[in-house]
Amino acid sequence: MKQTTSIRPAYSQVVICDPTAKIEVPLWKKGVPFVASSTCILFMCYPEIDGPTKLTFGDGDDVRTDRSPICERMLKTPGRRIAVETAEGDGIFDMPTSGTETLVRIWANRDWLPDEVGIGIN
């Protein structure tokens, strides 16, 4: 199952983390499409001032595209939940996980400033 929405996220990025857990938000570095810590991923989207980004969230097999994933990280999810939020903390998607560690893979239609992003959970 997958969920889709089209939004202009604040600061042109989304946060992927366990919403119930204390997380460490990584610091951005210039020129990279995402930054990650063991508990959180920040992923850059299309510039919100120029237009929306189409976000898809769900099981990895449902979201995957022909392109190889831009990001593939294991996140700690001690609360057995994972969510996609804006930088301001507003929830976009949310789903339970099977364990306290979750593999997150992110596909996009281009490497830099994509306007279509798929976030797959395994």
């Binding site: 600061y11 042109s12 610091l27 210039k30 001032i49 120029d50 903390g89």
Partner: protein, 295 residues
Amino acid sequence: MSNVAYQKPFPGLFQTLLGSARSVSEYWDDMFEPWQPPVEKGSDERVPSALPFSDGSEVARGPTVIGSNAGQPRQSIVSQSNSSFGAVSEAELFSDRTEVLSDALPDPVLVGQQYAGGSSSGRPPRRGAGLPETPAGRLLSEVFEGKLRTLAELEPSNPILTRWEAPNYRPTQRDINKVDLEIAMARQRVPGAVDSQASGIGVGPFARESIPARSGRRDWTEEERAEINRIGERHGCHTCGTRNSGIASGNFFGDHQSPTRLNPSGQNQIVLPQCMSCSVRQGGLVSSTARREKP
């Protein structure tokens, strides 16, 4: 009041004013056309009794010597005669091609008297009092005063509170925006503020102009977007100062200050231009701060 009004009764003054080196007699000779009969200088008889018009009619030109100025250039009026014109002033053509349209004696020139820019016309003077305040202008003034009071409460010694204003100064929206910017910075200078400039979240060192935020949302109007871009192109990103927004469209990002997530009390926000890099970086910091602040 043209200089001609001065020159008729005071030919000497005329020469002084215009810097003419010509004598009065030469000036007198030039008053008449070659076809006019020669008469003795200074005599009013030399003046023809009528001037022909192109349509064959004539305008009477009877001598009208005013006061004791006989012998000096005269002023006269046109009689209607056979002309189809109404009461039109006769135009006496002078050597410098100026003409007199009235036989009224000019008022004496008083030293120190103001002769231009007075209020007799009903229009406001160019300097000084300014336009009367409109209801919208009054509202702007009240908002401006209110914001100055807010700033005074936050920072009583803020330099922007010391102002030099004209007696009838009218604040503009831009003045209000400037005070708004100063209020936002003053709030972030308060000890313990999470969105201070040092944190990388607050108003940056390159902030010069801002626009008021309608809300914490990012639903910009075309006018707002244009204004954000104008400020960004003029003063650069408020955080790093670059005039390159970092994206192909060239649009600057509108940055709410204080950041919406860190403004739970709903205080007035302003919007500043920001480049892509600083916006994204600030997003991470806001996210981190907001989660740390979360109870």
